[in-house]
Symmetry: D2
Subunit: 143 residues, 4 copies
Amino acid sequence: MGEQPTHADLCRFLDAQVPFVKSLGISCEEFRPGYAVARWKRDPQWLRPGGYLFGGGLMSLADAALYMAILGQIGLKAMAVTIELKMNFLRPAIGGDVLAQAQVLKVGQRIAYGEVRLFMADAQDKLIAHATCSYAMPDSERR
Amino acid sequence: MGEQPTHADLCRFLDAQVPFVKSLGISCEEFRPGYAVARWKRDPQWLRPGGYLFGGGLMSLADAALYMAILGQIGLKAMAVTIELKMNFLRPAIGGDVLAQAQVLKVGQRIAYGEVRLFMADAQDKLIAHATCSYAMPDSERR
Amino acid sequence: MGEQPTHADLCRFLDAQVPFVKSLGISCEEFRPGYAVARWKRDPQWLRPGGYLFGGGLMSLADAALYMAILGQIGLKAMAVTIELKMNFLRPAIGGDVLAQAQVLKVGQRIAYGEVRLFMADAQDKLIAHATCSYAMPDSERR
Amino acid sequence: MGEQPTHADLCRFLDAQVPFVKSLGISCEEFRPGYAVARWKRDPQWLRPGGYLFGGGLMSLADAALYMAILGQIGLKAMAVTIELKMNFLRPAIGGDVLAQAQVLKVGQRIAYGEVRLFMADAQDKLIAHATCSYAMPDSERR
């Protein structure tokens, strides 16, 4: 729908619009229309005893990854009010960096929707969590 | 089911088990069996331009509040692996402290489930978000 | 927002707009702005061995109950495309009639949202299921 | 985990365990470990004016499809109490048969989880709905 932004464009946009993404240690690894991969860098401050990552961080990561995937499709618009997000926690998230693969399943006039698969960067065959999420589209998309 | 812990007991337990709760600025305002209120203190680092609070923080707050409510009911056990959490974002969360009222709806042998209502501390008549969440019970509860 | 319809008005409207509600054996017990109670009449065709009610029927009941509660608030408009519905199944639903109490938590310009509590008509102290659900508002509400 | 049942075995099992599946007009098209496709046959009694299929039916279809996919993986066990199901409705479901592709994402000791994609049988490039769903595993799987 919009013009495809570059990776550098996206990073600048995220820093301005959602600065806590970088504060949490989340960055964009890859993005194209309707798809993005985000990385959450391991940081001891987000660990529970035993090395477990906290759920709110995983949900932030999923939210950010799908936001990137939608921006990759519609262009860099200050949209994306999250309407709802559900995450299922499937395996303990212990230790290192986490990757989130986000896939847009629908971009409509009112709502964009997609799913996100999370796994540890060093064990990409085992899902640790799965999220689905809806965003409200900006009004300018409605015409 | 368990012995009712004091507020000081709960705070010590949370600091040990889920230290990022305090790092995020979340504390327990009130708790009793099956019910708790948590507060997320306003901090500029968690704001988007315009003063909006980030969704991952609100989800962390809801998760923590319901955890407190369950601990209030079953006692201080290192349980509570979150199975799934869904949040619906209903109004922009701008500005000040956020309160989360968590209500346990079921504590079973395997799963505890409840809902959480979030609002700005200075406008308690307007919901900003609503969450539902399931936790796996510790094995020791299964007997 | 709209004019408050009578119970008879609502029944006629439901028969015309969502005829399968009656086919399933669901009726409106009570409704007022933002709140409704629906009843699902016991019928052996919807039971699993052991007398368990099927989950899809409980989800239909929750969907219908919240629809009634929203219509009670905004008036009888052919709106209400369901955007998303989540149900948590808390106890076995065995046997008799089921009641669903629906509460609207937000009616906005774009989205209406609420929660629904389900219990057996003869054991109203024990939740059997809990649902949350979002509807898209009709365009005419947007002005 | 269990022995792989045949299609005929599965049909007999479903008729005995979840007879309303057939009553609704739902059948199994395809199944293998961790994956299944279910079909919901068009029937005018499940339509709203305009030819729209009702949401509760789509949720029943998703629930049944994932149940088949799990049985394909663990064998024919009378398990599968649904814990929670969320569906997002993405496009109007008008007209003909609906197909549901279910994919298991995790089978654990306590919980099985997966996702389901729904589309009209004659337009398989357009998702009409997406569901995620958790089931409690039977106790016998816990050892």
